[in-house]
Amino acid sequence: MSMLKPSPTDRVLTFSEAIREAIAEEMRRDPTVFIMGEDVAEAGTVFKVLVGLVEEFGPQRVIDSPISEAGIAGLGVGAAITGMRPIIDIMFGDFITLTMDQMVNQAAKTHYMSGGKLKVPMVLRTTLGATRRSAAQHSQSLHAWFSHVPGLIVAIPSTPYDAKGLMKSAIRNDNPVAIFEDKMLYQLKGPVPEGEYLIPFGVADIKREGTDITLVATSSMVQVALEAATLLADLGISAEVVDPRTTTPLDKQTLIDSAKKTSRAIVIDEGYEQYGVTAEIASVIADGAFYYLDAPVKRMGAMNVPVPFSPVLEDVTVPMPQGVVDMAKMLCGKN
């Protein structure tokens, strides 16, 4: 059940609705699930993702917090250890900077340090992504940091279907899970089946099959890769788009197998390119598919600059379909 793909006949939801539905379903199913964060209740978050939840579940389970990111992450850890399943809402991914100690030194390590006795079943939901004209402190994609940390799980959905399934899995998981939602995806529509389903962690999804080149893409970069694949098809290049869906655990085998098949790969992610997610994935593929590759594995991350405010500058900092097309053409020797 869990591995099903959506069918084109499913009803259509936005990314945002899919997340809300996942949380609502889990809150109905399990009274220990609650959500806490800044302006999550009446306001339903600044992105309006949680609108309606406080009406259904009340302010005891949909809790407006002070502007205390470290504090609410910490409360999440304590509540999780003692029998609850908190979802901690961190408005902008840039603010995970304030939660690093609680997430990395506490949440991620408690199970191990206690020799397996204590568990921390908590979810931290936050956002990523630029191009909203929000400047350097509200536009970062910092998921590489959490991905680096053993003990944490990092999910990074790219479609409404994945968002719902990954969120439900996160809430049921007994470990701390961080979910990064791209702010630019919230209005994206896609099929989401009515029934219950989960998406397991560490299982990549092939979003489009192809034979000439593998485009590994995460979050909103999946849309960029799909657009690029369409453009490439016109040029006679068949691109396969693979979405890891979780960065930790990483489904290395699917990525490697795809690259073995196509013998070329580009990795696209919206985090800063240097020491980012693209580095891990590219090196995994370059190692695992070494004897099959016809060209070096290329990486496309966000430009290594703080995100500028001015639209003319901001827009060039993130990977765009045309850039992917150009890179793919080069790798495939078509110029």
Binding site: R132, R133, A136, P306, P311, L313
Partner: protein
Amino acid sequence: MTQSTEFDYNAVDREQWLHMYEQMCKIRSFEENANELYFSRKMPGLTHLYIGEEAIAVGVCEALRREDYITSTHRGHGHCVAKGASLDRMFAELLGKEAGYCRGKGGSMHIADQDTGNLGANAIVGGSAGIATGAGMSIKMRGTDQVAICFFGDGALGQGLLYETMNMAQLWKLPVIYVCENNLYNEYTHNRETAAGSLKARAEAFGIHAEEVNGQDVRAVYATMLRLVERSRQGEGPAFLLCQTYRFLGHHVGDVNREYYRSKEEETLWKTERDPLKNLAAWMIEAGLAEATIFGQIEEDVQAEVAAAVEFALNAPFPNVSEVTENVYA
């Protein structure tokens, strides 16, 4: 709302009050135009308006010298104007233009202007507490008699950083003044839901001298700040000023339907009875310091200046795309 009453407002020059009025007027007009630029889709992104809170920025900055420092917030236009920035370059920054204070790289939430001592607006709530306190440390080490002002909202009291830095400021008697703009809300949540106990006591717990003031009365803010600044210049250490205020409009320009978190009546009350501009004008007229007509004249002049500034910004060029990789490192 104590001691300040001891101050004799008549000891202040009529011209100075008029100057404060003009400054408040500039801020208001700046913000109205920013709002308009948003609704006419000429401004990228969102911005947080300071309308209603003008007396704080102006009362505080009027007590400062050009070389004193301020750190500001996401709601920072007022502080920036009051500290002396020019409106054309501010608007240019809001529009992401090369002529902006940050060459378009910062935008509304990051305007900095070191020439007037503005170390920058900050989009991290409470995020500038370290910067302001560090500036205070630097002042003390360099042996000047500057002061550093840290502006922040009531919501910033949720951030642990503020407590860490207030402790150090008091330990080391740093010339920092923490100015809390309590406009009752953290975005869309009233602070009775987010702040326990007493806001002022949070500074007093560290032994910091703290006062509370009516943030809608520029006279009170100014008079109180004069004292606090003087204390700090004399080496008596930090202070905390709690200003009671209200933002007349939304949390940001897009926050138009606000009834789910605050009532129209509440808004109307503040707008009609506690408007810092109206109140200063009324007092000056009543005290015989100015005739009613002068305020209209100031407004007209200011509006012309602001209109020219907007015009400048709209016509200014965007930065060259190659600038994107400049200024990452000094």
